[in-house]
């Protein structure tokens, strides 16, 4: 088997395994898994920028929130149907990511991190400022009756799970395709040595902007799906903490590996799920995980797997 075939089977296998798990797992866990799949989409969007292109953003919550509020507000105030509202969410995420990318990419390194952080902070404050419509930190509920697509009830466990899986599968295959394409290779080239990439004739600025936009829209799609499937939009999802989560998931799972985000999200979700049952200070686990990861496994779980056993992992 060639590496490409292996990686095709891996991606298809993961999706099939996830689909089967719905019928095997107890309801509590399949409910969790639906949530994890949506968050993993967010992490995959983040991974494209951080893991492959080498750009560390501390402001991705802005894109997630753009998708979430694009959908939420469209349904709440303009009575959009779910499909149209998802598109509204994606368009908002697209516009926001173009603007942020265009400005933030003029900086590099630490300045890029801080600029993205600042933009996200401004976004969060904007949501609070328009609290009359967004209901601020409290957030608003998207009515159960509105969350129907044709005959599919997105509030039923099955409708919710397979919608989440559909989105996940689409994004998972998109990422797998990008990573293998010349575009993906060029992004890795930027991560490895930006100046060299320029001197081979790559338009680094343009490639980075494309990466930011794809990453932003994918994160936005996760935000829109989250609001739609779980019926809630709130400013919490725009806080710094939600910018740090995808970084954490990707680092834990393995940056620059296609399955890294999924693995990282599953692990961290359950770590926090279990620890929050014990203590309200559950973010302690996240903090410890970050420090230990930086110290001992900067490649993450899937990264270590690739380094030791499976060098073909895409």
């Amino acid at each position: 088997m060639t590496d490409i075939q292996r990686s095709n089977w891996l991606h298809i296998g993961v999706v099939i395994a996830l689909a089967c798990s719905f019928f095997i797992l107890p309801e509590y866990h399949s409910g969790n898994l639906a949530r994890i799949l949506v968050l993993a989409v967010y992490a995959m969007g983040y991974n494209l920028l951080f893991g492959y292109t080498g750009l560390l953003s501390l402001g991705h919550a802005l894109f997630f929130a753009a998708g979430m509020y694009g959908l939420g507000l469209a349904m709440q105030f303009f009575d959009f149907n779910p499909i149209a509202a998802v598109i509204a969410g994606l368009i908002l995420a697209l516009v926001v990511s173009i603007c942020v990318g265009f400005l933030a990419l003029r900086t590099t390194g630490v300045a890029f991190m801080i600029v993205t952080l600042m933009f996200a902070q401004a976004g969060y404050l904007t949501i609070l400022y328009f609290g009359e419509y967004t209901r601020g930190d409290e957030g608003f509920v998207i009515q159960q009756a509105d969350r129907m697509v044709g005959m599919i009830d997105l509030t039923s466990p099955m409708g919710r799970f397979f919608t989440a899986l559909l989105l996940f599968a689409i994004c998972f295959f998109i990422i797998a395709y990008i990573v293998r394409s010349g575009f993906g290779l060029a992004l890795v080239a930027i991560r490895e040595n930006e100046e060299r990439a320029t001197m081979l004739g790559y338009d680094v600025m343009r490639l980075k902007l494309q990466a930011v936009v794809i990453s932003g829209v994918m994160s936005g799609s996760a935000g829109a799906a989250y609001a739609l499937l779980f019926g809630y939009a709130g400013a919490t999802f725009a806080t710094v903490q939600y910018s740090i989560f995808p970084l954490l998931w990707v680092l834990l799972g393995g940056a620059g590996v296609t399955i890294g985000p999924l693995i990282g999200t599953i692990f961290m979700f359950y770590l926090i799920d279990y620890s929050s049952a014990i203590t309200p200070a559950y973010m302690l686990i996240a903090g410890l995980a970050l420090v230990l990861l930086t110290l001992f496994a900067p490649q993450g779980l899937a990264g270590e797997l690739r380094r030791r056993f499976l060098p073909w992992l895409p």
Binding site: L103, M113, M118, I244, G287, A289
Partner: protein, 308 residues
Amino acid sequence: MEFGPHLILASLEGAVIAAVLAMTAMGLSIVFGIMRVVNVAHGEFFMLGAVIAWWVAHLLGGHPAVGFIAALVFAPLLVAIIAATADRLVLQRIDYDPDRTIVGTIGLLYIIQQVTLMTFGPEARPVEAPFNQRLAIPWFEFGENGFEIYWPWGLSITSYKLFIIVAAIAILTALWVLMTKTKIGLIMRATQQDSEMARAFGVPVKRVYAWVFGLGAGLAAMGAVLVVPVQQAHYLMGHDPLLLSFIVVIIGGLGSLPGTVIAAVLIGMSDGIISVFFSPTLAKILATLLVAMVLVFRPQGLMGKLRS
């Protein structure tokens, strides 16, 4: 109400904010300037300073002044030791790699914050000020009897707040003397210029870095001890100082110490003044966007010089 007296009050409140901010931001700036480290956990060292101040004051009891003075000594010291330990245990091991440092200090942020939540609890707790006289703000008018000074009802500031301003100036002056006139300062500046060269001349660079990291955190803690009698200690209080310090350090020019002070005064004063007259949220939005734009279009800061 009249505009004039309010402006005076707002300026004084702004000066208090600026004083504390200058110290906190100075800590961040020193760490960035000398070590090239972006310390995301800086706000948590500020918070720790306030929380430890509460512990010290609480344990000692007696006259508030006793607890306060003890806190002013012990809290920064303890925080500095914690920070230096974190530097040794985490940052040194990853060799200050920029990306990993950011991630590592984000981890530290949550560890410090959550451990505080587990031990200190979610309540906000006050520390009593050592002295706290109300001082009414005078204003003047040209009435029937010509020029008259009077005290508009309800407009006052406390003696303690004025003390914060004086104390911050004193501490920052002491820091300036330390950095420019002493051997310790010389070693730090040498390390900043060229750590390889400093190492070659026998400077224990690793130890210097640990000190610098401790000093930066200690400054934040000291700022927090000063502010805790007017603000109360709470485990989430590190968030705003962190963001504001970032803003100050960026506007002032990354790593430029005089720039940091000027920017702190600018930001602190305008924050105080703006939030008296405008919606604080809108002010924050504009300030954050302004800072982002400064970084995008003038990365050397408003006052910094472009490095060649």
